[in-house]
Amino acid sequence: MEMNSVSLKSRVSNVEYIKKRGKDLFIFSKQIVVLDVRGLYHMKKELEKGVEKSDEMLYEAGRLSLMEIHESLVASLGDAAVTILSDRESALDMLVDALNNLGLGEISVLEFKPAIKFAVKHSAGAQDYVNRKEMSRHPVCYALAGMFAGVCEKLLQSPVICKETRCIACGNNACEFIMNTKKG
């Protein structure tokens, strides 16, 4: 069956990220499932009931998922991948563009140098705190932080740590993330 676009085009490269086959959705030929964002809030609450290091798990799962998206992107670009992805700023724009189609929030790059910083409005991982008028003492977007770490690791070809410095769950207007090089 022919794949139809869901009318999404990247402002960077005209790549159509999300495609539809029958009722099923795909990103770079990988099948997608749809999750209600409330599930992230409830997942965090369930994990808080006694699962140690759950934040690290969510971070790592986010990081690994981005690795997979990146590999799929490279495969979909084919021979052009090396050229397109060699310009790191353009490559970052492209990956952010792809992420902006996943309903994670409205993601933008705040800075590229000296450190990469991201801003996210209406973060899927934190929006329910706002909706429920619940204030968190700490940022809560661990999966998103992991994804950004994955983006930057692929881009910079070196391990990084992503830290969320502002979060709407803590009362900030938007979530912000900064990337630091991993030492040791």
Partner: protein, 178 residues
Amino acid sequence: MGMIDKNIKHEVIIEEGKTTIAGQRAMLLSVKTIATQQKELERLVGEKWGHVVYEAERKAIQEAALQIFGLKQLDSFTKGKTFDKKSMVDTLIGIFNCAGYGVLKLKKFDEAKPYVLVTMEKSTIPQEYEKRDSPVCFRVAGILAGGAEAVFMVPMKCKEKKCMSMGDSHCEFEITRR
């Protein structure tokens, strides 16, 4: 008897970076990502992982389904308004079948008990697992339990009786009162 809104859009809509299904905010993750997250959780907490995923989805989807049907409070049914529950179940199955987990089919429905038996063919998440001796579709089971709670307005539970990860030809879920 109250009518279910026939205009509920089942499919996923992606517009200007906002993703919704049946009017509810959603996010999209690859099947492999979901499986990776589940395996990480299993590595971290062992058998308890299924309960964590199940409960998170049950609570999320109960809230979502209530909103889809325009019911803001759990006691809406006690205020003189009743709905065709079979029609509600059909609506939720229609929405579910646009979400990429597999193809759900209603096999048994008993409003009085209440009791629902559904099968899921072409299940996507089990395909990311090696064959094992326990089911893996806790996320789907939680979704079904949460949806059933919004329909029947009583606490419900869902148990996966067959799973493709165990070598079955399809997955099967039994939804009963909790």
